[in-house]
């Protein structure tokens, strides 16, 4: 079970959060093509290794966290706010 260090609440169990998917891509702007929106909506890299993802602290402060997690070891290298540019290791 993941223990996520919420910047607002401290270390909390995974069960307090809702996974909200890949945080590595931003929603395209209003002028983007349907193809770009299709890529944003459907295409995922599924990496073995470090992954940026959204976790919403629904059972706590309701803040959205950007989390850098290793998909194999589950290690969490960094947790930040949505606008933060997290440093992805190696």
């Amino acid at each position: 079970m993941l223990r996520i260090h919420c910047p607002w609440c401290g270390p909390r169990d995974e069960s307090e959060f809702r996974y909200r998917g890949d945080a590595s891509s931003e929603r395209p702007g209003p002028g983007a093509s349907p193809e770009e929106f299709a890529r944003f909506t459907y295409e995922r890299a599924n990496p073995l290794g470090w992954h940026l993802e959204w976790w919403l602290h629904v059972g706590g402060c309701r803040q959205l966290l950007k989390v850098c997690r290793h998909t194999l070891t589950h290690e969490i290298a960094a947790v930040g706010r949505p606008g933060d540019a997290l440093k992805v290791p190696g």
Binding site: M1, L2, R3, D13, R18, R20, E26, R27, P28, G29, P30, A32, P34, F37, A38, F40, T41, Y42, W54, L56, V58, R62, Q63, L64, L72, T73, H74, I76, P82, G83
Partner: protein, 972 residues
Amino acid sequence: MSDGPVRVGPGLLTRTTPLRFRFDGREYQGLAGDTLASALLSSGVRLIGRSFKYHRPRGLVTAGPEEPCALVELLGPCGLEPNRPATTLEIHDGLQALSQNRWPSLAVDLRAINGLLAPFLVAGFYYKTFMWPRSAWERLYEPAIRRAAGLGRLVPKDLSHAPAETVHAHADVLVVGSGAAGLVAARRLGDAGLRVLLLEQDVTSGGGTLLDPAWSTWRESQQRGLSPSVKVLTRTAAVGAYGHGVYAAFETLGIEESAALGGLRERLHVIRARRLVLASGALERHVAFPDNDRPGVMLAGAALAYLRRYGVAAGRRPVFFVNSDLAYEAVDAYLAANIRCLVVDPRRESLAADRARERGAEVRAGSLVTGVAGTRAVRGVRVESGGRGHWVGADALFVSGGYSPAIALASEAGTSLRWQEDICAFIAELEPGTGRIAGAARGLFGMAAAAEDGARAADAVIAELGAVPGAPPDSVQPDIERSPLTPLWDVGQPGKAFVDLQNDVTTEDVRLSAREGFEHVEHMKRYTTHTMATDQGRIGGLLGTAVLAAARGVAVAQVGQVRPRPYLQSIPFAALAGAEVGEHFKPKRRLPLNDWHEAAGATFVATGLWLRPLVYSREAGWGAVLAEARAVRSTVGVTDVSTLGKIDVQGKDAARFLDLVYANRFDNLPVGRARYGIMLREDGMLFDDGTTSRLGPAHYLVTTTTANSSAVLEHLEFQRQTVARELDVLLTDVTDEWAQFAVAGPRAREVVAAVVEELPLAATEFPFMAAAEAVVAGTRGRVFRISFSGELAYELAVPAREAERAFTAILEAGKAHGIVPYGLDALNTLRIEKGHITGAELNGNTSADDLGFARMLKREGDFIGKHLAGRPGLVSPERLQLVGVRPLDRRLRLRNGAQLVAPAAPAKSLGYITSSTPSVELEGWVGLALLSAGRARKGETLLAASPIHGEETAVEITSPHHLDPENLRVRA
């Protein structure tokens, strides 16, 4: 000379009052502190169960939770439970256990015929044999195989109270195992001021030191010296590692504690710790030789435990078959009990053999055991030296093939394993920052080595956690010098030699697996079921690996070991469920007005977590429902809509935010007005609907469907904090803060006027879709002129605590008009007649166009879902579209889920009925349906087919708005 096991002394048991228990109906006696295994053994019982596949007689192999064979059914207050290891069941007066997997009795098991069929019952037999014909599998093969297979029965009896609970524990360091290494580690960690949780699966702490009298004084001093910050949990096994310092442990309560806690038997501990010290010791391995499963064949360490701990000699003429000096500890113990010992050792020479000879044992060096005589008990052992074999008489055979560090908890967490040649076993290392492995669990055998290693592990953890170590550990007597072991796996004789005793997997099965191409150890596991039993192959896992390695002609290290899975011991489902059973399975959300609804005689229905009044009657059938609906259509009714999700949206950019998340516009909504809105997912499908009211220039109140309220809040928060993170807007869930009641019907205005102050209600002044704050029944509330029923309607909102006062005021005001409260069923009848959608239509597969909302999608500006909503697949005219249906024969009913088909092509579904109800407005039933190209089919006649009811009803396709399509009533 007499034969068989016998009690020769008290061992470590202190109370000598006999306890009476029953096994297979027969009464036996044991002593307080005995396990079922030691007590049966002390009574001379060797045959305890039958094996899984061949129904071979089986006895005790181990003295701990790793036991593969001596599993029993336990008859207790909760019923009959299977697969409890006799080796861990503490006896008490009145305990009742049954042997399992035998028919008709343990001594005479007719299914032992499987043993004669053994040449055919090889690995993969079921897959290969019962393949054809396919239809016979479900009818014939599977039921028969299921009856014959499986271990034990589960017969629940009294489930009125939960026999288990879940508790949470936090610690700086979790120490697993309380042998020499764990004890020292816990003491040092505690002395450094750290909070320590020390787990011991046994009933008392001490681990291996319990079996070595020379270490009892040291052990007691360590136990006494533990700092108060060390919490010791005995009877508690670590059963899972879940990463990030989260572990699961399973505690079985002692009989006295259980009685004091009203029958609570088990605790599942969820432990969060900063570091782990894994001092779980090592597990002795079995050796593969023909008939290595006969009752009386036991691991040497188990024989030692029964003798030293419980005072029971597992045999009086034992043969030992061992490959390491460590195993001679058991020889010493039997010699000390004046029992003659014959030791068969494949090594040419060893220090321990020399010492044993001096004490009177006969040691056959350079020899192997190659067979066992006896079926239900060992009668003799075949010993082979220098190519020549002969039989010796014996009543027990104590085996040791070496020791494997008990690292299942570490490898479960994904740690990679490393082969260590000098102990012929894999060892593990924990990931950095996770903790340390210590003692025998790290391959360091011997008490002194373990104690020193425990201190080392503790010091490393103390340093990592920045604590200050206490005084240096007590010095210990050094371990005696030991000769190296020799690898001993499969003696390579023809005959049935088991590697997995619980699943009846033999060396030949493993070799067959390799021959048929299942060479990877994980493939071999699945092909043969090796290590797939409840014991997960604790004593034979590596043995199977070694046999596979030999078959492939590679080193054991190269083959590797199968990965253990949680839970590391079999634990009852009841322990996982804990208190979350029955009424406590999930929380209930009760309406603010719950007590009133109950008193009014409502039948409740669970929608999500909510309990909602379905109808104000306890009788089944449509009568009461339709009476309620009719009252709304003819005069006035009131219903509780407090479950609708309510999200308060405030901020200078509130309008811009709503325009982003809704498909229609809200920036141009005037203050004091409400508007119906639809929300899409980014993929263009409909997500939710509801009315949103503008209460101020920068203040909106969003209403969501009951079912989606939390999902919508999450969605909105997600969008607010990502796409809209530059906007000045905040969301607050006020669902529970407001109670809300819909007053609907032609007389609604008169009723509302009587309870609302400060608000002119004339249609010109407070028209359809008006919203305002007002005094409602004497309290600050809100009034919305919105309608789900299709009638003139108002929704009145008051703070939740005022719910009952407001509701009674409404009823009082409505008395003169014949007001009735109506439930969810009547609400449903009303909305189907009106053609309003709920979750049945808004089902995640429908688009805005499908449900007739295409014109609501705004042209200007971005919104979530806009870009993919126009995909050809989502606007195709062939898609399922919302329509109304009515049976042509008005006497016939409709069915939700009935498929709509053309009479000419009845095999092709064109759509299905989503909602249906008897109508109070029209004759007969009305329904809503999703129908391919539905809007173009208005006026057509189709068949509504419901094969499971044997019905085919001719229906006409209509507009979904069965009544008042011009909205005259709601605007009245």
